[in-house]
Amino acid sequence: QTPVKVKIGVLNDQSGLYADLGGQGSVWAAKKAVSDFNAASKGLQVEVVFADHQNKADVGTSIARQWYDVDGVDLIVDTPNSGVALAVSQVTKEKNKVFINSGAATSDLTGKACSPNTVHWTYDTWALANGTGKAMTKNGGDTWFFLTADYAFGHALERDTSEVVKANGGKVVGNVRVPLNNADFSSFLLQAQSSKAKVIGLANAGGDTINSIKQAAEYGIVEGGQKLAGLLIFLTDVHSLGLKTAQGLNLTSAWYWDMTDANRAFAKEFSAANGGKFPTDVMAGVYSGVTHYLKAVEATKSAKDGAAVVAEMKKIPTDDKLFGKGEVRADGRQIHPMYLFEVKKPSESKGPYDYYTLKATIPANEAFRPLDQGDCPLVKKT
């Protein structure tokens, strides 16, 4: 019989702010998933292509449309940057293909903007806020001050985290809205310092997070006994900060390479192929998502009807070596445990990328927004 043709497009940021956390690493992860899956022996002929969306929604959708219309792509994966992700999700629905997002944070993908063709894999703002907010508040960090990036994403993170903090008996003593791409945080950090809050929540991302952590060290904030909680931080960020500066930082992540043997083996192989870099949770999510997708295609015997493939993905449980057992919910949310980590002191680190200590595990059933609270139209229907 003729093999089922499947074309996978990794659409992400290859040159900008998010290039390090996904970029070529995600492409590698997707290819790795295909070869681990042994696609050929299962009657699938899989090809992986990739493109740079440059963090522009119009570029992203142009590529997506062209991929779907002209190049015969069946699945788009990764796609960090919420704006691009939402746009691609919409195109995917229109063209009835599949979109597995690993890199974007917006929980709208499985909420208001959910789609029968979209699966959200690794994390989302709700999970991040919940993980960090809950675990830290429970561990005694019961007064919070937020440094919030002044735009929709920052506001959402702050709002979600505050709710979690309050729900767990904590208190928010103040916040300050910081303009995007602001290099100097001293002013805001001083305000945070004088608030005497036990935890300073960083509701920002990328360069802003990095600079705020760096300057917090300069002003001796962590030494002074306050804790920093990064709400969206990646292994690559910690790497670029260096342990000396980042030590003591708390963060939530879906995956860390040094947790299981399978993870370590994956990381070792990744590192060998990618010039010594280590994989992030986003890349692991791409691996896991692609694996599950291939299983569904194998079952449906065709990749052409996207909605059918996603329906199949929701039907069979997820299970792979990196993310373990889990499921894809009706709203498209993939469910797995989340973990709270603390960044090690330089003296505790024993090797490259040995950065995190596990502080708490948030079980899968608590890690994500309950199905009925997301306003996803797909859920109401059923």
Binding site: S15, G16, L17, Y18, A19, D20, L21, D150, V176, R177, V178, P179, L180, N181, N182, A183, D184, S186, S187, F188, L190, Q191, Q193, S194, G206, G207, I210, N211, K214, Q215, A217, E218, Y219, G220, T236, D237, S240, L241, G242, K244, T245
Partner: protein, 293 residues
């Protein structure tokens, strides 16, 4: 103790001081831009990239050559200045007889190239650079990191020396004259092409120096310059394009204004400089210290 619009006076002092520190970066960057604009009539869009190169220079000096911060403070600006001079010799030079906008466009392109190359090589999330002067002094109203104090002093000295050379020496009058009629100044016996090259190198060196100073305080990242450069342009316009004193005074001044905005109305702190610019240009089109050309 009385409060001032809801902010304790100590906190206010603290913020003023912080503003001054930021202003130090603005001042040095806008000074370099003003020198280059004033003398070459080129809006150096590459300035942000050169600032970034300065910071990366410090990082590379440390990581590849083992040169510490204090050495990098000298080495990095010189290297970046030399690269700048090569750019001037090979590319900018051809544009002097054309409309100034071409200079702006060329340097804009160069900025893209430099930023792109660094992103390719070093990724975009940046690299760490340690603090050479850890610790700080408790001033009572705030904790002043030693390093930040050093930055303010260093940049003040650099700014004032530059101002003196350009406004108060013979060299300065050559430079200013060469802005208008390079051919004629050369016909008086002055080697104008070399002077222009050196001037560009100097302006670029200032940017790189600011970059080295920024490395320990901010992340060394390929995008650090492009985020800052637009604000610095605004500072230069407010000060009066090409005015040396204007660049210095407004640099520090706007740092302070921005700092205060961060206390009273942080949401506006990214736009306050542009608002001021709009107002200044309405009232005094040539900028605070500018003279009509």
């Amino acid at each position: 103790m009385f409060e001032l619009i809801g902010v304790a006076p100590q906190a206010l002092f603290g913020q003023l001081l912080l503003g001054l520190i930021n202003g130090a970066f603005y001042a040095m960057l806008s000074l370099g831009l003003a020198v280059i604009f004033g003398l070459l009539n080129v809006i150096n869009f590459t300035h942000g990239a050169q600032y970034m190169m300065g910071a990366f220079g410090a990082w590379m000096a440390l990581n590849y050559l083992g040169i510490p911060f204090w050495g990098a403070l000298i080495v990095s600006p010189i290297v970046v200045a030399i690269i700048g001079m090569i750019i001037e010799r090979t590319l900018l030079r051809r544009l002097y007889n054309l409309d100034h906008l071409y200079g702006l466009l060329l340097t804009f392109g160069l900025a893209l190239i430099i930023e792109g190359l660094f992103r390719r090589q070093y990724g975009s999330s940046g690299l760490p650079y340690g603090n050479p002067l850890p610790g700080g002094t408790n001033l009572g109203f705030m904790f002043l990191p030693n390093y930040r104090a050093f930055v303010v002093v260093a940049s003040l000295v650099v700014c004032l020396v530059t101002w003196f050379v350009i406004e108060r020496t013979k060299l300065g009058s050559y430079l200013r004259a060469a802005t208008e009629r390079p051919d004629l100044v050369q016909a008086f016996g002055i080697d104008v092409p070399r002077m222009i090259t050196l001037t560009y190198g100097f302006g670029v060196g200032l940017a790189a120096l600011a970059g080295v100073l920024a490395a320990p305080a901010y992340q060394v990242s390929p995008t650090m310059g492009s985020n800052l450069i637009i604000v610095v342009f605004a500072v230069v316009v407010i000060g009066g394009m090409g005015s040396i004193m204007g660049a210095i005074v407004t640099g520090f001044g706007l740092g302070v204004v921005e700092g205060l905005t961060k206390v009273f109305y942080p949401e506006a702190s990214s736009t306050v400089i542009f608002v001021i610019m709009a107002i200044v240009l309405m009232v005094k089109p040539t900028g605070l210290f500018g003279t009509a050309k």
